[in-house]
Symmetry: C2
Subunit: 580 residues, 2 copies
């Protein structure tokens, strides 16, 4: 492609609202454009990257035995009602109705839809296992769309669904997809970790996430350097045992704690560790009052609480002061599980608090707490095993070593769904004995457009993007320094045409711009291999460099072409890493 | 792909609600499935066809200098307000809002969106001409979705938009796209005609449609065999001159026409030709009464009337009897342009009626008409040049010969938009003199999924589809008659593997089914080249045939492979006609 005719509107300045490198660089390099919050379009350069990633995903899905289909983005409400997710998805789902008032959503995912499709078609165990996938636009009305195409509201996703006869074969399908994901993310040259997750909104038994490491990632993971332990902060179980066995249990006493509204205040004033001050979280869950207590030195993990409660997240709200007074019979900031707590309040206590001795709890009165409170004797409630966010310093339960943390971008996830969806949508097959059985399912996602951001976050410098050859929009850029110079243009054209004939993807910068502009654009758009045609053109001498090294080598144009072909044949083993 | 593992749920019976061959066959062959009215999913076989067509379109768009991008399907309301089409599109547009009540539509097309994109980015005439396109899911909430994916509500479309400095270069871009469409539809082996259209909802100056001929097509075209004249029935101008010069103008007289409520009745009763009885169409247009008169032997062309009125189609309604009485001061069935017609009624008269002598018009009284009415003397109104539907027997204005008619499926359309959208969205560039000018635009659509139906309509028999090699989901099917026979399976596998190694796309029917089932499925799914492995396998003898000829030839397996390769190399000149 000759750049004089190429639609590649680069920007000199960082766009005002772009916070992270990938967002800034994709905008500046003219690869994406924003139309509305979380809604983006892909310009020619950017769309080539998307399609290359899409093709790698497609090739590996096919290699691992999945079959491609394409479902509609519009999904009828009825199937979501059957699974119960029409409501639980809440405002994150785009909903609409047609001219006849029939309700639809724009699919945020497609467990229900694939299950419904298979339900009528696959009747016998002989047709199993089956794994079908699509690469399709998905929709999520994010509360806070941000970071460009990293957290967008319309995005491209590969979603696969496996159908099996039993749990064992479902797990085989799961491991099969796991392996395919490793191949895919390896091919994308991503530095990633596979971490355990809970199944979240998908339901089911087991899940893993593929996290591309990046300091700007929205996800935090904790991992062990000497065991398999790895999980996102939201999903990592927190392991620590309370050993208060050498602390003498004292009788509970009420104390004044003037103006002590925070755990910090109380701990300082009473001179007790924060861990032994019960932190209250006052909630309205599906319209009813719920009180949650955790150790004062820890943070509540909302995702664990949601899964413990089994209520949709948007049905969980913090109480306001008025509600605390009226529903909890308590002064705000002094809530505790005491005799004043009304009976209709559900009290949930993190297990650690129940193992401690001599805890401080709110007295439900302004400026008062109880000290030396002990679970079972002085206060009661449901025991929840683990409602805590993991934090720095927590340990690997397998080895006892301190966990490392890192930030990352979730580029893939895999779920064992079991029979959750086949049951709710009544999808059965006939087994060897002619008996009806529910399908065992798995679901497997890859964020195609999000992977673009992960690649850029891991491959850039202050000047721009450094595309790995495998996903680069073009392999080579040939820069003609002076487009008015006949010899330079001739040599540039010749190199361009020879490379194109060899199947190489080439940009020819034949624009009538200053050399500085061309160099800056070249660094910004990050084409991996570069040939510069300048004054040496008279002697057939050009400069060859890579975007990564940025070291120029003066060689003949033929040698430059050789260098390119060497690089391409060593890096690109697969046909589909070429654009198509 | 081995069919024992392939997701290809064929059906033995025609689905009840499928009316046309392509709809039936695509469903029966397991290529598509319906999820809701006008909403379909593509199963593995069907999606391969879609992607092959998509790739042919992509390759030719690129060849003709268009650049691919991808815009979001969600489009913000504001840009549609600016062009005025938020309202004019009416209920055919899917509308929705996000969690913050911001309004969006699901793009039915993207003139506004592309104009808005280019507006901020392309600033100079130096960056023109520009032609950008996308292959993207589109949405139209059709009143009567039908014929499967032929008239669907969610469908795949290629839409391209050209941006030029002036009308002349716009026309060059238009002709360039025209040529690319011819190449594309030729490559798809479609039998099609290019017909003139008016610009309809797109606005602008000139347009053409690409119509794949088919008896079940929803469009009717009229064309001349001895000139370029060709147009859809809705859009074809009707040429005929009234020559009443030898008819004596008589004085108007009121006559009783008892129970003559139709043109037929009146013409018979008064013994005049139907052509000379004014047919009244009583309308409410944007809330106001409008009376249209055309010759009694012709049908009103609503599309021409809409464009004459400049009002959105959903703002045009037929009057009911009460409205005729109240607003037109007339008895229903006897409406005419008379002195009784209230002054606020807009009266529009097709030009032919104004050239006739001694016309019959309604007298606005029960059982009464006027005869010998003459325009100008006895009745008046706006003269509309042509509001008529073309019909059998009409003539080619160029040659005078009678036009032919045919039915067809609209697979492509091209529009010269002029400055309609650049003006309404204020999109300008700077010309050579630094002066701001509006872009001249064109827009160009191809129905990718609809093309699948056109190909099937033109290529099938009573047993199933007959795919042209270029879009066939697989090139070859190898049928093993007895999958339990070791030799047959071995020979089948060997042929399969050799062909796959050569890059041929092969289905191996290794299913444990009766031969009859396999043969029926093979005919149904329409794979163009067939190799049958039966008892001859012991002597390395197989049968070779094509889906089109269905004549078996007994040859060795090596010869069969040769036949396949010969066919493929002669038919498939382009790499992208292979699946990818």
């Amino acid at each position: 492609m000759k750049m004089s005719k190429f639609y590649m509107p680069t920007l000199r300045e960082d766009p005002a609202d772009a916070e992270i490198a990938s967002h800034k660089l994709l905008l500046r390099s003219g690869m994406i454009r924003k139309s509305a919050a979380g809604i983006y379009s892909y310009l020619p350069l950017g769309y080539r990257v998307v399609r290359k990633i899409e093709n790698i995903v497609r090739e590996e899905m096919d290699n691992f035995g999945a079959q491609e289909i394409l479902m509609s983005a519009l999904q009828p409400r009825e199937i979501w009602d059957q699974s119960g997710r029409w409501d639980t998805f809440g405002p994150e789902m785009f909903k609409l109705h047609d001219r006849n008032s029939r309700e639809f959503c724009l699919g945020p995912t497609a467990e229900e839809y694939f299950t419904t499709l298979i339900k009528g078609e696959i009747k016998s165990y002989k047709q199993l296992p089956l794994n079908i996938y699509q690469i399709q636009t998905k929709y999520r009305d994010e509360k806070r769309p941000r970071f460009g195409i990293n957290r967008a509201r319309e995005f491209l996703m590969k979603d696969a669904y496996s159908f099996d006869t039993d749990e064992e074969t479902m797990k085989e399908a799961y491991m099969n997809m796991w392996r395919s994901y490793e191949v895919i993310f390896d091919r994308l040259k991503l530095n990633y970790k596979v971490v355990a997750g809970d199944a979240g909104a998908m339901g089911g038994n087991s899940s893993h996430e593929f996290i591309a490491l990046s300091d700007v990632g929205e996800g935090v993971i904790f991992y062990s350097e000497d065991s398999d332990f790895a999980a996102t902060d939201e999903k990592a179980e927190v392991y620590y045992s309370v050993d208060d066995s050498n602390i003498t249990v004292l009788p509970m006493e009420k104390v004044t704690t003037p103006n002590c509204k925070t755990i910090e205040d109380v701990a300082n004033y009473l001179e007790v560790p924060k861990s032994h001050c019960a932190k209250a979280i006052d909630l309205i869950v599906e319209g009813k009052p719920v009180l949650v207590f955790i150790p004062g030195d820890r943070e509540l993990n909302m995702s664990k609480l949601v899964s413990y409660l089994g209520a949709p997240e948007h049905e969980i709200a913090m109480m306001n002061d008025e509600e605390i007074v009226n529903l909890l019979n308590s002064a705000p900031g002094f809530t505790g599980p005491t005799e004043k707590t009304p009976e209709d309040v559900r009290v949930i206590i993190d297990s650690r608090l129940t193992e401690m001795r001599n805890v401080v709890i709110g007295a439900n009165e302004e400026d008062h707490h109880y000290r030396y409170a002990n679970f079972g004797r002085d206060f009661n409630g449901e025991i929840a095993k683990d409602l805590l966010m993991i934090q720095e310093g927590d340990i690997d339960p397998n080895t006892g070593s301190v966990l490392k943390s890192a930030r990352g971008i979730e580029v893939g996830n895999i779920f064992q769904l079991g029979t959750k969806y086949s049951k709710s949508l009544d999808a059965k097959y006939l087994d060897e004995n002619g008996k009806e059985k529910y399908f065992y399912m798995g679901s497997y996602g890859i964020g195609v457009t999000r992977s673009v951001t992960a690649v850029v976050e891991q491959n850039h410098d202050e000047k721009g993007i450094i595309w790995p050859l495998v996903v680069a929009p073009y392999h080579v850029i040939v820069t003609v320094i002076n487009s008015k110079n006949k010899e330079q243009i001739e040599v540039g054209n010749r190199i361009y045409e020879e490379l194109v004939l060899k199947g190489v993807e080439v940009l020819l910068d034949d624009r009538k711009e200053r050399a500085g502009v061309k160099f800056n654009d070249r660094d910004l758009i990050g084409i991996p291999l570069r040939i510069t045609v300048g004054k040496g053109a008279t002697d057939n001498i050009v400069e060859y460099s890579t975007r990564k090294e940025m070291v120029n080598k003066e060689i003949s144009s033929e040698e430059a072409i050789e260098e390119v072909m060497k690089e391409i044949s060593s890096e690109l083993k697969y046909l589909d890493t070429f654009y198509r």
